[in-house]
């Protein structure tokens, strides 16, 4: 399988059901290499569910998920992480008791290894590994401009900074695909601008493919290469931002035309 052929991630006809509620019905989405894909839709449209299926928290009762061409439908979250998929959460899921540095270092766990007895000794391989990864983490800290809060416990940070640290933690894993669940929710204009800049920089400098959920239409239109629109668990539009903006089904969904 060559690097460039086919989409990075393809979600094919998946359906997810919670009891009687159809959270997703036969949704197909492709994420192409190096693009920024925005997933939008009204509340309860199934956006976060889609992300949860991709990260392995839920399993679809029908449909398939392929990552780099291979079937990855029934993986658990740690397996998904090993494939190179990282994500952030809608309402920030940082490790509150740990320092910012430790939070981001945790993002590199999969890149670290060795026997736990070596860790117990510390001096030798464990220390060398620790320092090498510390250097990599420091580069991410510089990149996201959070040098000053390195040693602060994550739980004590203001909300905007927490979101940035969560992005740093996801980046530390050097993912192929980065899933962001409302990375700008609850931010002020200035913080949003910073976050937009970081997302664009991550995409252009590291070549990371990004799929994000966002409510701010201005942001979506500005930064995304392609937009997927969900409504009531179905995909109603898929295309470049300008095209989606004019789509009648999308306008109906947002303006609240009666569903029948």
């Amino acid at each position: 399988m060559t690097e460039a052929s086919g989409p990075l991630l393809s979600v094919e006809d998946i359906s997810v059901r919670f009891g009687a509620l159809m959270a997703l019905s036969r949704v197909s989405v492709e994420v192409h290499r190096r693009e920024i894909l925005a997933i939008i839709g009204p509340n309860g449209a199934g956006k976060t569910t889609l992300l949860n299926v991709v990260s392995g928290f839920y399993h679809p009762y029908e449909g398939r998920i392929r990552f780099e061409g291979r079937d990855r439908t029934s993986l658990k979250p740690p397996d998904v992480a090993e494939l190179g998929i990282a994500r952030t959460f809608q309402n920030v899921a940082l490790f509150r008791g740990m320092s910012v540095l430790d939070n981001i270092m945790t993002g590199r766990l999969l890149k670290m290894g060795g026997h736990f007895l070596l860790d117990a000794v510390w001096y030798g391989p464990a220390r060398r590994q620790e320092l090498a990864h510390r250097a990599a983490v420091e580069r991410i800290i510089d990149f996201l401009e959070i040098q000053a809060i390195r040693k602060t416990p994550a739980g004590r940070l203001p909300y905007g900074l927490q979101k940035r640290v969560e992005l740093a933690r996801a980046l530390a894993a050097e993912p192929k695909l980065l899933l962001l669940d409302e990375p700008m929710a609850g931010m002020n204009v200035e913080e949003k601008e910073d976050m937009c800049r970081f997302i664009l920089d991550v995409n252009s400098e590291f070549g990371t493919t990004i799929a994000l959920i966002e409510h701010d239409m201005g942001v979506v239109m500005d930064i995304s290469d392609r937009v997927v629109v969900l409504d009531y668990g179905r995909k109603i539009a898929d295309g470049p931002p300008e095209q989606v903006r004019k789509d009648q089904a999308v306008l109906d969904a947002y303006l609240g035309v009666a569903h029948d």
């Binding site: 990260s55 740690p78 430790d102 945790t106 766990l109 060795g114 464990a126």
Partner: protein, 358 residues
């Protein structure tokens, strides 16, 4: 003005990640170590060593063990006494079955046995959390104590039902048994607790500690980063039980000399848990502070009324002790959930600014 880190810049990540990054701390720790290893064995009397220092060191080791599990990995256990009993009885069996075995090696192997048992009782932790798990560890506590009580094999069919530490020498010096002097037993316990505290610190400041704390703080986010919950929790159970097992073996060999299962009943589990809460959840230093505190309170209650001329009955002391422990648990959970270790840190920060208020 004495305690300042001003001017001590870290130019390497290695320097920044040292256990004691500040010079003054290193000097202080060096002095404490010197006092503990040289001055105390020379100066302290039998009472101090036997009644205070030796139990303090052994409890501190057990508290570190429980703190790894509860403070770092966030898994509450009420079975500490049971795991310590596994250590004590397997050490007894090993030492009597293989008399030529070095006693330190006996302790370590006893720890390994306890780790195996801990692993077994840790399996439910994948599916259950919080107080459900606490109830599951109670099963370990009651079952293990019953087992050691009922099966004569564990005490070599001694009619009294007690396990007695056999006399063993190390480098020609008597370490266990009735002839071992208190300073020698103290030094063995001290050496072990220092060694294992360093090991614990190394574990928690690196990869493994981070995966434990990640599971503790936000298990869902930890999984998506690639932390495998079962493996991580089981490792915490195994290592924690190893520490408790070694501490249990020491309790028999270095402190009590002979034990019945009663020594490891549920009250011991609670006692160790109190040390962890009062000392500070998620702090190795806190385990030492908590152990010191719990050992000293009863001694304080025995002696203070005498000094001030008050006549206190022993059962009153016992009740007061319970009330003080209980009250302090609540107090610390409300006021300072990070315990004495956090208070120590605050004192240091104050000291750094002294004589200025801010």
């Amino acid at each position: 003005m004495i305690y300042r880190e001003a001017g001590q810049f870290k130019t390497t990540y290695a320097g920044d990640q040292a256990i004691f990054p500040i010079l003054q701390d290193r000097v202080f720790v060096g002095l404490v170590a010197l006092a503990a290893f040289v001055a105390v064995p020379l100066l302290a009397n039998e009472y101090w060593l036997q009644a205070i220092l030796i139990p303090f060191l052994i409890y501190a080791l057990a508290a570190i063990g429980l703190n790894l599990l509860t403070g770092y990995a966030g898994l509450l256990s009420l079975g500490t006494g049971g795991f310590m009993a596994v250590g004590a009885y397997s050490a007894f069996k090993l030492a009597t079955a293989f008399p030529w075995l070095n006693v330190i090696l006996v302790f370590v192997l006893a720890g390994v046995c306890a780790a195996g048992v801990g692993l077994l009782f840790g399996i439910p932790s994948l599916r259950i959390k919080g107080f459900y798990l606490a109830v599951a560890t109670l099963a370990a506590q009651f079952f293990l104590i019953w087992l050691f009580n009922k099966v004569g094999w564990f005490v070599n069919y001694a009619p009294s039902g007690t396990a007695t530490a056999p006399p063993r020498t190390m480098l020609g010096v008597m370490v266990t048994g009735p002839q071992a002097t208190a300073p020698v037993r103290y030094l063995v316990a001290l050496g072990l607790v220092v060694l294992f505290a360093l090991v614990a610190k190394n574990l928690v400041r690196g990869r493994i500690g981070r995966s434990w704390m990640a599971i503790r703080d936000r298990d869902i986010a930890a999984e998506i980063i690639g932390v495998r919950p079962l493996r991580t929790k089981l490792l915490a159970f195994a290592i924690s039980s190893f520490y408790c097992g070694v501490a249990g073996a020491e309790l028999l060999f270095l402190y009590l000399g002979s034990v019945e299962t009663l020594a490891f009943d549920i009250n011991l589990s609670f006692l160790i848990l109190f040390m962890v809460i009062i000392g500070g959840l998620g702090s190795i230093l806190g385990s030492f502070l908590g152990a010191a505190f719990i050992v000293l309170v009863p001694i304080f209650l025995t002696n203070v009324p005498n000094w001030i001329g008050l006549d206190m009955r022993t059962d009153t002391q016992k009740h007061l002790e319970l009330m003080i422990f209980g009250g302090l648990i609540i107090f610390f959970l409300i006021v300072e959930p990070h315990g004495l270790a956090r208070l120590w840190q605050i004192t240091k920060e104050k000291l750094r600014l002294w004589p200025f208020p801010h």
